[in-house]
């Protein structure tokens, strides 16, 4: 019995059925029906994905289904991994969406599109021909765009975010299209096996062009610098369960594309490809987390953190390519396993964080950290969920990201001794970038959790926040369980991921083994996250008990908090997200280049009496300003110039057609 076929069949059936239910079921039951249906779709995807990772394969060819191109599907281990991750995120987000969309997005269109989006997320990693892949890719972009625009009537920013997303994602699509078509032109047909066969005959220049084009396209989907601009705009404006789907599942498609085309179809390629990937990844990681650290909008912060994590994944992918091109397949498999494990980990904690942020948005109507605080009392479960997610996202020992970042650092450090000049310069830089990113991530998530959930509420909405409905809590609970499992016993997932990575890098040796204690192959390195966590917990308990015992000796006294005699202390005296990030902003002043403006108004009677002080601070995305604004200006100028050609005169347009035709005919005659 082929579990892959069973899972995919179930997913397709459930997905289409839920889309129909979204259209037909009346409003009261619509969210529940679609949510359950989408959850089944996702779960079936997980089943198929895990079956594929354990070695089952399945393929389908239906040349007549889609005109000209046909539909070809094939599930292998790599596709299975991304299939499983997307399915798991979709299942959790869909359950959460039942409660969430009742107030935010239970219209007919968003509910019908959600299962379709889930379905395209599942099909993209198993498409086995260029035509099928591009159609699914475009459907994924369109359905997610529709979901981003769900709340466009309520907030004007949604429309703008949607425009950015639509344009950027289609530019990326064009780059992928060009790259894959140039590739296909050298092959017998557009199926992946034919491309694989043709890869050996490609000239290095053509292969390099193909790789650069697909890197641009897939990089823009993964939110990698400098094509990240849409991500911190579109992800926050979407409904939160859609944000989770996009940020935890859809961006992975970009990584999948780079790995699939770069390693599988093109068969590795030159060293400089992977140096570019690694450097882009390192830059994205540092820049993404820096912007996240400065951000005060919690969902925007999470969006930038996605850029950071995709950057880390690409560091792993790039390192893997470097090692593979140097012939060290075991190390390549280790770096790839680290990258793929980080994909899984990121999916788990980013889902949890976005769902918790959505729960806060649901309860308070605000995403602004400076207006939140004190949510611990009203929303204990959401606070626990966000705290767990924040711990998982910062690369500290009991956290989820720690394991994969440890693996990544191990592979980078172990790669140093047998490297060429370029590699031996780049690898230490990458190690430093990963370490800096890890440190900034801790600061970022301490800020997000401490300012957003602890201390006192800074607004009435935060003070009156109440816990979210049960389905939302269930979604967060599932994501939390996944985070804890990946953090404590990564040995559950690592053998499967190691097999996938080994398959990509072309080695039989599993890069990492062991259930409780991870042991690396061929390099010395062991890590036991479970024992580490137990030791940490034991130490924490010991300290608490010791403190209790020590503090119990003198009688405890209740005393008024020292407030400089002025009191009572108000929420205005607390650290805000802005003030917490201020020291960091000062350190990285040259990089982030904040715009600050202090305006002091005096009384007319005396210059010594201040009437009002106005302080404005803005941290614009610097890359956006330097890179996008000139391009946008040039496009606008080009458009104005083009308008002179189109005056609205029909005669003129007919003339254009006539002269173009004549010029074409003359050119044909001359060139014959």
């Amino acid at each position: 019995m082929n579990l892959v076929a069973l899972g995919l069949g179930a997913a397709a059936g459930a997905g289409v059925a839920s889309a129909l239910m979204g259209l037909l079921v009346p409003r009261p039951a619509r969210a529940a029906a679609v949510g359950l249906g989408s959850a089944v779709t996702g779960a079936a995807g997980v089943l198929a994905g895990i079956a594929a990772m354990t070695g089952q394969t399945w393929s389908m060819a239906a040349p007549e289904l889609l005109p000209i191109a046909g539909v070809f599907l094939e599930v292998d281990a790599l596709g299975g991994l991304f299939l499983a991750v997307a399915g798991a995120v979709a299942a959790v987000a869909a359950i959460y969406g039942i409660g969430y969309s009742r107030h935010h997005a239970d219209g007919r269109a968003p509910q019908a599109v959600l299962p379709l989006f889930v379905l395209t997320l599942l099909i993209v990693p198993i498409a086995a021909s260029v035509g099928t892949f591009l159609v699914c890719w475009e459907l994924m972009a369109l359905t997610s765009l529709l979901l981003v625009l769900t709340e466009h009537r309520r907030r004007a920013q949604v429309g703008e975010a949607g425009r950015w997303y639509a344009i950027m994602t289609h530019l990326g699509f064009m780059a992928i299209l060009i790259g894959l078509l140039v590739f296909t032109a050298q092959a017998a047909d557009d199926t992946f096996p034919a491309l694989r066969a043709a890869a050996a005959t490609l000239s290095p220049a053509v292969a390099g062009l193909v790789f650069l084009m697909i890197l641009v396209g897939f990089g823009s989907k993964a939110g990698v610098l400098p094509l990240h601009a849409w991500l911190p705009r579109a992800h926050p404006e979407a409904p939160s369960h859609v944000s989770a789907l996009m940020s935890a599942a859809m961006v992975n498609a970009g990584v999948y594309g780079i790995v699939r085309v770069g390693f599988d179809l093109l068969g590795g390629g030159a060293r400089w490809w992977w140096l570019v990937v690694l450097l882009l990844g390192a830059l994205s990681a540092v820049y993404g987390i820096l912007q996240a650290a400065m951000s005060t909008d919690v969902k925007r912060l999470l969006g930038y953190s996605t850029t950071e994590n995709m950057g880390l994944v690409l560091v792993g992918v790039g390192a893997s390519g470097l090692f593979a091109s140097a012939g060290n397949t075991v190390l390549a498999a280790l770096a790839m396993a680290a990258a793929l494990l980080h994909v899984c980990n990121h999916a788990a904690f980013k889902t949890l964080l976005f769902l918790a942020a959505g729960s806060v948005l649901h309860a308070t109507g605000s995403r602004d950290l400076d207006a939140l605080g004190g949510l611990r009392r009203g929303m204990p479960a959401t606070t626990a969920a966000f705290g767990l997610g924040a711990l998982a996202a910062s690369a500290l020992p009991p956290g989820t990201a720690f394991v994969s970042e440890w693996l990544l650092l191990q592979s980078l450090i172990q790669g140093l001794p047998n490297a060429g000049i370029a590699t031996s310069i780049v690898l230490p830089v990458a190690v430093a970038a990963v370490a800096l990113t890890a440190g900034l991530a801790v600061a970022t998530f301490v800020k997000a959790f401490g300012v957003g959930f602890l201390a006192r509420p800074r607004s009435d909405a935060a003070a009156n926040a109440a816990e979210s409905p049960a389905t939302m809590l269930a979604g967060m609970g599932l994501a939390g369980v996944a985070c804890v499992a990946l953090a404590l016993v990564p040995g559950l997932a690592l053998p499967l991921i190691g097999r996938v990575a080994g398959g990509i890098a072309g080695t039989q040796t599993a890069p990492a083994t062991g259930a409780l204690t991870i042991e690396l192959a061929e390099v010395t390195g062991t890590l036991s996250p479970f024992l580490l966590t137990v030791a940490l917990l034991a130490a924490a308990v010991l300290v608490v008990v010791a403190l209790r015992v020590a503090a119990a000796r003198p009688r405890r006294q209740e005393a008024r908090l020292w407030d400089c005699g002025a009191g009572p202390m108000s929420a205005r005296m607390e650290y805000t997200a802005t003030s917490f990030a201020e020291p960091l902003q000062r350190v990285f002043d040259n990089v982030v280049q904040p715009v600050q403006d202090v305006d002091v108004t005096h009384y007319q009677e005396s210059r010594y009496l201040v009437q009002a002080v106005e302080y404005r601070r803005q941290i614009p995305d610097r890359i956006e300003r330097r890179f996008y604004e000139p391009v946008l200006l040039a496009v606008a100028r080009w458009g104005r110039a083009g308008r002179r050609l189109a005056t609205g005169s029909v005669h003129r347009y007919l003339g254009y057609g006539f002269y173009t035709l004549c010029a074409l005919l003359i050119a044909l005659v001359v060139m014959r």
Binding site: A559, R560, W562, G565, A566, G567
Partner: protein, 162 residues
Amino acid sequence: MVLSLWRKIRRTGRVAEPAPPPPDAAAGPAVAELAGSVQIRHVDAGSCNGCEVEIGSAFGPVYDAERYGARLVAAPRHADALLVTGPVTRNMAVALRRTYEATPEPKVVVAVGDCARDCGVFAGSYGVAGAVRDVVPVDVEISGCPPRPEAIVAALRSLTGR
């Protein structure tokens, strides 16, 4: 920069005046518990800043009150003694009381200057709540408007006993 500082220190030498003989009697029962080290929180309850200048001078290099074990600290939670100056204005009455409550036992209150003792020239003013002893219990009083640094140092030595 650092070198020139060292040179300045070497060239100047000690400028502190020779220490007068130690005090005979301690100021109160709390003093024995303080055992020669008194951390002091200064509270300006409405002073004209004349007393502040003299306190600054008492802790400066010439009178150098720190050599007798007295030290200024930044919060009442760290303090053994409060050094209160000025008549207690209505704005500062609650703050002074809270500062007193925030100071751990055993604690000593020193009222510095005539204003702190009996409101000085501000007595009867609409903004004045009273002398320091009307708001918190006072252990030591220093008279003068403003008191000379020697007087402040002498009073502090009666607390440290050194």
